[in-house]
């Protein structure tokens, strides 16, 4: 083998090695760990908000003092920030935590209503189900309370610092009377500096 061939093969092997080492390394991480990639709304913010709000609602006299778990539905959580935030994911997380406590019962929300109606129609109008096992129409449970809220942000930045202030507000409203039975807010400040 000539020297020329040897150098060429060495170069190919070296480049091949470089490509192999730059391949991404995939590993699983702790989904509960604090995430500080940037100041955008992240997993830690969502988890903190859901936990604080669900615990605060559980502590309210309306929920904690109730003999029977109140029926609640989730209404709209408005995103008033300039970022894209999946507010449905936040409300679902709050709902999961409250449901697990056993102190609150949720009925289908407006966004889930179509699926509920479709299922009832399928069981009652398709002619495929026996009358004994089909879920009857007209027996849905109405919620006495609804949960609604909003998330807002204030962003300030200069050449070296970016400061983001999030405020999440949640209310529990009596559907019949319109009375605000419980309300709380969670503030989060995130700062990135060079």
């Amino acid at each position: 083998m000539s020297n020329k061939h040897f150098y060429l093969i060495s170069l190919v092997l070296f480049l091949g090695g470089c490509v192999a080492t730059t391949a991404p390394v995939v590993k699983y991480g702790d989904s509960k760990a604090v995430e500080t990639v940037n100041t955008d709304f992240g997993s830690t913010d969502m988890q903190q908000i859901a936990e604080t709000m669900s615990r605060s609602m559980l502590e309210s006299p309306l929920v904690l003092g109730a003999r029977q778990a109140p029926f609640v539905t989730v209404a709209d959580i408005k995103n008033k920030t300039s970022d894209y935030i999946d507010t449905r994911a936040i409300s679902n997380k709050i709902r999961s935590q409250l449901t697990r406590s056993g102190r609150v019962k949720f009925v289908v929300s407006i966004s889930e209503m179509q699926n509920q109606v479709d299922e009832l129609k399928r069981q009652n109008q398709s002619g495929l189900y026996s009358n004994q096992t089909a879920s009857n129409m007209g027996n849905m449970t109405g919620s006495k309370y609804r949960v609604e809220g909003s998330i807002s942000s204030i962003v300030k930045q200069n050449k070296n610092i970016k400061d983001v202030f999030y405020i999440f507000q949640l209310s529990l409203i009596n559907n019949e009377t319109g009375v605000l039975e419980w309300e709380d807010e969670k503030e989060i400040r995130k700062t990135a500096s060079r």
Partner: protein, 126 residues
Amino acid sequence: MIFKRINMKLCKIFPIVISALLISACTSNPSIDDMTSRMRETDEVKVLDMRSILVNNQLKVDVSLQVKSTNKNISYRFAWYDKNKFQVYGAEAWKPLTIGSGQSGNIQAFAPGPAAASFKFELTSD
């Protein structure tokens, strides 16, 4: 004579009763260190006090902290256990500790549900 015998007996029983009471008190009230789990180097945070009460059968916790310095990013969470010492309601998310350097503060937590009978305060750093 009878009174003297009773007094003698009481003198013998008294230390035993006192030590039994002390032992039972020690076992029913774990120390702050027992109730704190430090995952990594978190010496910057001193746990000053821990209190818990039952509100309508649900545990409410108050932890007093003193932060010596904020060189590291410290996070905390609570782990909840049922009366059989099994962890309940899953692991909480780690939350960044936002108490400033040289400051003291309190962290309050309300249990996720009525099954929580005891808790552990967990601390970790980056």
